[in-house]
């Protein structure tokens, strides 16, 4: 029996492992991944086929040192509609490793999903044939970088992979008196539902700030930001009662050249659900094993295993065989040195020996 259980266990483990080593059609979630994730996200990367999707990439904003620019990508093609799910990378080379923006001295300030990741997952909405993503990034050194957009998606049970043409961006030194964002400015990317949000902007060489904001698919609204202190400005984003995204940009004016920042994304969302996965797995297994043991123990007490056991158990009956009938005592007395138990078992032998001696 134990051999069969062992075989069943091994087969179960092997089959379970196979499901983990396949592609992840449900995705792996947004994150910071290099293109080598083609192995992790799509199972065996040698199984990938080339996607026929079209990928366009464009940059918005002047690439000054420590100043943000926006890179956006639009991916389109009928092949995307097979699965609907798509993973989109922003990469800085095509070697497959050390190719994130951070590896090329660029910092991601925000992405269109409300995070700060170079890998985003999206879903093609039914009826559409394209999906777009964007990143707001800033250079932290004077460098020239070629950006690529890479995509992963499924279809016909086949993992597909695609990569765009490169887009070269050369970082320039900041012109004198350029009205600009502070080098340590980091935009807010998420906010809670149902609350107005005060967005802060840190600037340098700026005397006036106008802010344009829009909800996806609607017209642009313009407001004047208030100065809260030297080099700090604020504006209020209206509350959103359901998950939504607004985009905003600042028009910075000062003594030097004016500058318009790229679009920043502010996502209103419910707080993400977080749970200690180890605690969940331990509790799940504890519930399983506790229920198993509890029911077996009660069933053991209630059932008549003992009664049934006695019915079939005959070992004691075999061992406790009754002695043969005791022979009659000679002269009505036990022979000297005998006990009654000895007489019951061996008395007849004594009588036979006595009879032979007499003859």
């Amino acid at each position: 029996m134990f051999r069969r259980i062992r075989i069943l266990f091994v087969v179960t483990i092997l089959l379970s492992i196979s499901s983990f080593t396949q592609a992840n059609p449900g995705g792996v979630g947004d994150g910071v991944f290099d293109m080598q994730c083609g192995g992790a996200c799509h199972g065996d990367s040698s199984l990938n086929q080339t996607s026929s999707a079209s990928i366009s990439i464009q940059v918005e904003g002047a690439p000054y040192l420590d100043q943000p620019i926006s890179i956006s990508a639009v991916i389109s093609g009928a092949q995307l509609s097979y699965s609907g799910d798509i993973g989109i990378f922003l990469l800085t080379d095509t070697t497959g490793h050390s190719d994130t923006p951070a590896d090329a001295q660029w910092e991601i300030l925000s992405d269109s999903n409300g995070g700060t990741n170079n890998y985003l997952e999206g879903k093609l909405i039914s009826g559409q044939d394209n999906i777009s993503s964007s990143w707001t990034i800033k250079p932290t050194s004077l460098t020239t970088t070629i950006f690529y957009i890479s995509i992963h998606h499924g279809g016909d049970d086949i993992p597909y992979f695609g990569i765009s043409q490169g887009l070269e961006v050369e970082v320039l030194p900041i012109p004198e008196n350029l009205a600009r964002l502070s080098s340590d400015f980091t935009p807010q990317t998420t906010r809670p539902l149902g609350e107005e949000t005060i967005v802060s902007i840190e600037t340098e060489d700026v005397s006036n700030v106008k802010v344009e904001w829009k909800v996806e698919g609607s017209s642009i609204n313009t407001i004047i930001a208030n100065s809260s202190s030297e080099g700090e400005w604020e504006f209020t984003a209206p509350a959103s009662n359901h998950p939504s995204t607004i985009q905003w940009r600042a028009i910075l004016e000062g003594d030097g050249p004016s500058q318009t920042t790229p679009w920043f994304t502010l996502v209103a969302q419910e707080p993400p659900f977080e749970v200690d996965e180890a605690a969940v797995y331990i509790q799940s297994f504890a519930l399983f094993i506790f229920v198993l043991g509890f029911i077996l123990s009660i069933q053991l007490k209630l059932s008549n295993v003992k009664t049934e056991q006695k019915h079939w158990e005959q070992t004691e009956e075999v061992l406790q065989d009754s002695p043969p009938n005791a022979p009659p005592l000679p002269n009505g007395e036990l022979p000297p040195g005998w006990t009654m138990e000895q007489w019951q078992w061996y008395g007849h032998e004594y009588l036979e020996e006595l009879k032979e001696e007499v003859q």
Partner: protein, 190 residues
């Protein structure tokens, strides 16, 4: 090669079908025992079908759980529904396995005598109920609706015990299970 999500659909259909069949047979068996249904043949048939369907469902359950984790977006436990599905399916698996081991190793006595038979019926039907509840939660997660939505079940509430309590429960469960199996295997009538 099929994807995890397709494999999950296949395995969950097997699990749900098997457990539903098993639960129905446990119910019919109890009705026969109480002579609400008078059929001697049905007693034997429902006993066999209930336990064989239960065994099949138990074999398919781990595949459903693992493929579900693999197919779900992100880490696999990204929403309260998925956590509750994990708890429900593992508890159902424990109940189902207990019913199967009881019937296999303790013999027919547990479905003849009244109290063990009631416990066996309760265990089998509870396992089925929890598996159907798990499937319902899956429907709510994937499609946003399920037949059991009329009960307004609180899928968005997760009762997560501290790890210490879980470990204590796990250790006591292991001890109880080992003790029970030791006695059952030592006195098996099969």
């Amino acid at each position: 090669m099929i994807s995890s999500s397709t494999f999950h659909v296949i395995s969950t259909e097997l699990v749900v079908g098997s457990f539903a069949m098993s639960g129905l047979c446990f119910l019919l068996h109890a009705l026969c025992r109480y002579e609400l249904i008078k059929s001697q043949n049905l007693i034997s048939v429902t006993d066999n079908v209930a336990h064989f369907a239960l065994m099949f469902g138990i074999v398919a359950t781990p595949f459903a759980i693992f493929s579900g984790i693999s197919a779900s977006p992100g880490s696999g436990l990204s929403t309260p529904i998925l956590v509750n599905k994990m708890f429900l399916s593992m508890t159902g698996l424990g109940l189902g396995l207990a019913a199967l081991i009881s019937r296999w190793k303790m013999g027919s006595s547990i479905i003849i005598e009244r109290k063990p038979m009631l416990l066996q019926t309760f265990t089998g039907m509870s396992a089925s109920g929890l598996m159907l509840l798990t499937a319902s939660a899956g429907g709510t997660f994937a499609r946003g609706e399920s037949l059991l939505d009329i009960l307004s079940l609180p899928y968005d509430i997760v009762i997560l015990m501290p790890v210490t309590i879980s470990v204590i429960l796990l250790i006591s469960g292991l001890a109880t299970t080992a003790s029970a199996l030791w006695k059952i295997l030592g006195k098996s009538t099969v």
